[in-house]
Symmetry: C2
Subunit: 200 residues, 2 copies
């Protein structure tokens, strides 16, 4: 079955395709649908953004679709930046300005209170509606300075409990074993395979 | 505008209707749609269950619909019982057997690790799709014994940080000020009012 992965980013598409790889699944990127509408990610929750994206695109492409939304939730900030992760530092936010704002927001805050989690929510939809919404998380703690050159976003500040290094200090292959996105798409794969079984 | 609240429980319907109360909103219970289909809550996430319920019922009733799913997530249990809250202790689970299982699962576990949150996820849908998915949470800690006679479910074990008493020791009016459900439906109301404004 063809599965549309709702991203135009080649690296992200390849990463997700590798997780979903199965003889019964053929992943297709949004690059194949140049006229697909942009869905504004203005929801209150990751599930909201992912579900709207998956539904709109499944209808547009008339194909089974997976869409994700993800971000960082910091305990001390009551779950912020959350759905605002990409624009934490305001209009024109960059990875660097977001990381600086996060460091500032946690100045003088104890280690216990710097706990955080990366969350990825994946919605799965066909033309008729939502088939499933799954979530993956990766737990860790926010560092007091940036470390490492890999990854993107908040990776230089997020010390994963799985490795005791920041995400930016990990090889992509290490990160992909335990990342919130890898976990969420592994669950999404189960949902897709169950759907194929029930609809064949 | 008529808004279907997807519950057949009179107390829950009244509680939610009070939160949504507004001159432009008229709440209707599922009691008015006796033939509405039961939607199985077999999803991986609260958002999954709420979104499916809202979509299916919005299409069936041809009306704007809100649907919720909620549960308890305990830190030490990595988020369990979560979507399995109602059936934590297995087939034929009762509030009492679920509470006993939770106490057992946390035997000898330190206070710090007994932190937990009640989560409520509300999905809002019209006939065409998901309009929004919002979430409310209430943070607290799991007690070492049951206290209080009010409420239901895990209420006798959940000490709310807002009151330092268990949910079962609170008056309904106290609980409704800070509960996960109250917070989620307050956010849902904002989504509904915005929708009415944009579609009138």
């Amino acid at each position: 079955m063809e599965v549309v992965v709702s991203t135009r980013n080649k690296d992200k598409f390849r990463e997700i395709s590798e997780i979903l790889e199965d003889s019964s699944i053929k992943t297709v990127s949004l690059e194949d649908f140049p006229d697909a509408p942009m869905v504004e990610e203005d929801g209150d929750t990751f599930a909201d953004n992912a579900a709207k994206k998956a539904l709109v695109l499944a209808r547009f492409t008339k194909r089974f679709t997976v869409a994700d939304d993800s971000g960082l939730e910091v305990d001390y900030l009551n779950g912020a930046p959350g759905v605002y992760s990409a624009r934490f530092s305001g209009v024109g936010a960059t990875y660097q300005s977001n990381n600086e704002k996060l460091l500032q927001s946690l100045e003088g805050v104890s280690e216990e209170q710097r706990k955080a989690r990366f969350v990825c929510c994946v919605a799965i939809a066909d033309e008729h509606g939502i088939v499933g919404i799954v979530e993956g998380e990766s737990r860790g703690i926010i560092d007091t300075q940036q470390r490492g050159d890999n990854g993107f976003g908040y990776d230089p500040l997020f010390i994963s409990f799985d490795y005791n290094r920041t995400f930016a200090e990990l090889d992509p292959s290490e990160k992909n074993k335990i990342s919130h996105r890898a976990k969420a798409f592994a669950k999404a794969k189960d949902v897709i395979l169950k759907y194929i079984k029930e609809n064949s």
